[in-house]
Symmetry: C2
Subunit: 524 residues, 2 copies
């Protein structure tokens, strides 16, 4: 039996991790040996009464989910599951498998609980491993799907042009269908368009299983994840509310039992919805809601600046209304990440393509467009403070990650700002204390650290409130950026006192939503 690896991956290929380390992709014979070892351990676990879980996709979600499932124990402290993470033998993906096999979190996490949990499960308990070999699915009682499902162009402006990259997802499902045990439960955690499990996933699995002569009902459930990379990574899986549904009662019951085995359901009860359409809608609705509330605040940000009021102070005064207004968003630089930037498009694709409803989610899509434009407002403030042009102006853009204190660059709003800054001729460089390289944009000039970015800069733009930025004093900024003529605070990085001191020292200062600074003339 030949292990199935990506046909395009030559044996000599390496996979480059975001840490800069190169991981050689193993040759077929090494993979076959690894599979034999995994099979032996999995079967031994099953022989002891345990179950086997495969997690398809080891990205931000799958790697953490695999770790949390592996850490689940029975009442005597024995591991419930033998867990196999599965990803592709491609240069873009293999490094995750390699790191997981070594007991490391693929993407370094600020949550020490996750780091320890994966290290312990891989190295001590030895019930967690990873592979690129498809046969792993044949070992599993439960297969958790944590694949990405992308939009080919998230800046699509018209409803009918929304294009979802279905092919890789469909191929991955076919792989599962070809290998899976007939009664295994497939649990889709990926955020998918409404109707996807019933109308896309189920038909594929039925067809491929039928080719194998399996005509029994597919056990398929949907339980979308709410994983939040950051200091509460594990909490966001284990100690957080989870919504799920099954395509039939058997699937729903199996999903409930499985989820309850690793989630603290005493404190965070599961929420079962009527059907997979409902839980699929729940996920894209909850993220669209967030995206709309951010977009809503954008137009009030522009108004607050024009009128000369401090919108942060105003929002804070409104958020005291607990239960009705306490989740109002503050002004900010922009929206990034994998979910809020695209989930609304999945919903619209369902409305248009899958259900042909004729409905256009107008407010929801307008919010996406506004959020896509938002980073340009911060750039506009920079242009204004530079005296009307950034051509040739040495500019430091501090912040690439879209989340403070996290190294997550997926769909970062900094992309939008830096592309435009470079297009209009700024001499711009980016920096981020949590990143050694920007894998999505390796061509953008990147400084080794803040000091080398700002040392010669005439303008500095802060795009995220990383702690090292928030802790900068006016004096430090003046000393470390002696040529700075203007500083833009894109995301509430600079407090009023620092802004006043910078302006007193002859540096122009403006901030998103900080109309009171403009009223005080800090931009002059």
């Amino acid at each position: 039996m030949t292990p199935a690896i990506d046909a395009n991956a030559a044996p000599s290929l390496v996979s480059l991790g975001p840490d800069g380390h190169a991981y050689p992709i193993p040759p077929p014979e090494a993979l076959a040996a690894q599979l034999a070892d995994i099979r032996e351990r999995a079967e031994a676990h099953r022989a002891r009464g345990g179950q086997v879980v495969a997690v398809q996709g080891l990205g931000f979600v799958g790697s953490a989910v695999a770790g949390v499932i592996a850490s689940a124990q029975d009442s005597s402290g024995s591991p419930l599951y033998f867990v196999i993470g599965v990803d592709l033998a491609t240069p873009a993906s293999y490094w995750k498998v390699a790191k997981m096999c070594a007991g490391d979190v693929p993407i370094p996490s600020p949550d020490a609980e996750l780091t320890k949990l994966i290290a312990d499960c891989v190295r001590k308990v030895r019930n967690l491993t990873a592979t690129v070999v498809d046969e792993a699915y044949a070992l599993a009682d439960t297969i958790v799907v944590d694949l990405p499902l992308d939009i080919s162009d998230r800046f699509t402006e018209t409803v009918h042009d929304i294009d979802i990259c279905l092919a890789p997802f469909e191929r991955a499902l076919e792989t599962i269908g070809r290998r899976m045990r007939p009664v295994a439960l497939i649990l889709v955690e990926t955020t998918v368009p409404i109707g996807f499990c019933e109308r896309v996933v189920l038909p594929i699995l039925r067809r491929v299983r039928s080719e194998r002569g399996i005509e029994t009902p597919v056990r398929l459930a949907h339980a979308y994840e709410r994983v939040t990379p950051g200091p509460h990574y594990v909490d966001s899986i284990k100690r957080f509310r989870r919504t799920f549904s099954g395509v039939d009662a058997v699937s729903a019951a199996a999903a409930r039992d499985f989820l309850a085995s690793f989630i603290d359901v005493e404190s965070y009860p599961l929420c079962e919805l009527d059907d997979t359409n409902a839980s699929e809608m729940a996920k894209v609705l909850e993220n669209s809601y967030r995206a709309v509330n951010i977009a809503f605040m954008y137009e009030w940000t522009l108004l607050a600046e024009k009128i000369g009021v401090n919108l942060f102070e105003i929002v804070e005064s409104i958020r005291v209304r607990k239960g009705t207004h306490d989740n109002m968003r503050y002004p900010g630089f922009g929206v990034g990440g994998y979910c809020l930037t695209k989930d609304s498009l999945l919903a619209q694709w369902s409305a248009t393509t899958l259900f042909k409803t004729g409905i256009e989610l107008r407010v929801t899509l307008e919010a996406l467009r506004i959020n896509n434009r938002m980073p340009l407002h911060t750039l506009d403030l920079a242009i204004q403070l530079a005296g009307g042009s950034l051509v040739g102006v040495p500019l430091a853009v501090a912040g690439i990650s879209y989340l403070a204190e996290v190294a997550d660059t997926r769909n970062s709003p900094t992309e939008i700002l830096i592309d435009e800054a470079l297009r209009i001729g700024a001499n711009a460089v980016v920096t981020d204390p949590y990143l050694a390289r920007w894998k999505e944009r390796s061509a953008i000039p990147m400084a080794d650290d803040l000091d080398s970015a700002i040392a010669g800069a005439q303008g500095i733009i802060f795009t995220i409130a990383h702690k090292p930025y928030r802790e900068l004093t006016a004096e430090e900024l003046r000393r470390r950026a002696p040529r700075a003529r203007f500083i833009i605070d894109g995301f509430d990085v600079i407090d009023d006192a620092t802004a006043a001191a910078l302006h007193a020292a002859g540096i122009r200062v403006a901030g998103v939503g900080k109309g009171h600074w403009l009223k005080r003339g800090y931009h002059l």
Copy 2:
């Protein structure tokens, strides 16, 4: 001295209250006698070390605010204030003064605390009264402004057409300016456009006071109300967070002292903002936020119905995310009331007219438009279930008030539905258990009670979840509406079991956001 009453009010005029009672407007000599009595009592109160408060406008807000201020006591249990409510001697307004003078809440309240508090202050403590005579302002240390400030057409579609009915408000301020003590504090509680206190109120007061030779600074503050008519009426004034600001430090300090004297600031601390622009923006922003969140849910309501899922269940599953998603709105019939239907227009008027910013609050205004259309969706469901036409169909519309268990018809969304229902030829009648008449729409056919509305109806539309509606069983509905062929649940009035029983009995049923009913074929 002749009491100043409205020049157009002939002495023989009467004022008709919403309870149907006619209150004759007193002749000048009676008003003069009343003023003399008020002056004597106010001066006696001041002689005892107390202060005098005038409240301008005795509507939903002013009447309750006057009562709460009158109920404030010092540590020995003596009343802090002698309070005079002031309204106009017009047929549209005088009834409020008459009822207040008699110790009754002008608009009957489901909050027993308010009823008792006003009765006690007027009849027992005798430190609360009301009048139409402008000289009352001359007695006051603090003048609280609770006037309405209306939009001439809240359905305005273009930014430049927004027209605020400034004249009555400006005249009322001139009246205050002509009468007020030079050092009296004017506290504006009315929701006003951003910039209004600085750019409209202050210039008027300065001009009128200057004509009297008063050149000292005006003491002017803004402290917008969050009064919620209903069972927690008094709580919404006395035990609720309040935001305020002054046009200068003296005004802000005076406002803080005054507000702290009748609000439970130990448990609900005051929130002071930088300037009146900021607190004015806070109010219109907080209501716009709410309006946008309602509008957002509308497009998902349409989608949920088309896809056949229960959006209530979905929203409930999302609202478990405390602090970020727990204020997501449920699907509903529409938006009513005085604030959410117009406050965004005040903000846009400021952006366009007062500050000439060129900014258009696009998401915010689109939300208003969506909310204005929303009631027509419920009507669409009725047309669909009636087989395509409502021409000549006997139709009962149950619910006029926009709030459950409250008799508040201001900008009720039922207006939008009933206008269109009548226009397209339905034989429609309205009913509401909390209303004897619909003062804004006295020409609309109104039934005496639910039974007479539905007895002959072929179709019933529930527009608000009043308790008497929610308690109806399928059996009762069939018995009391024997000719009913369809029932539309506009606002989550009917539960799943009732809907199933109605459908089993041959009645078609549909509900806003209840796609699962459509999926089950209840509309067939």
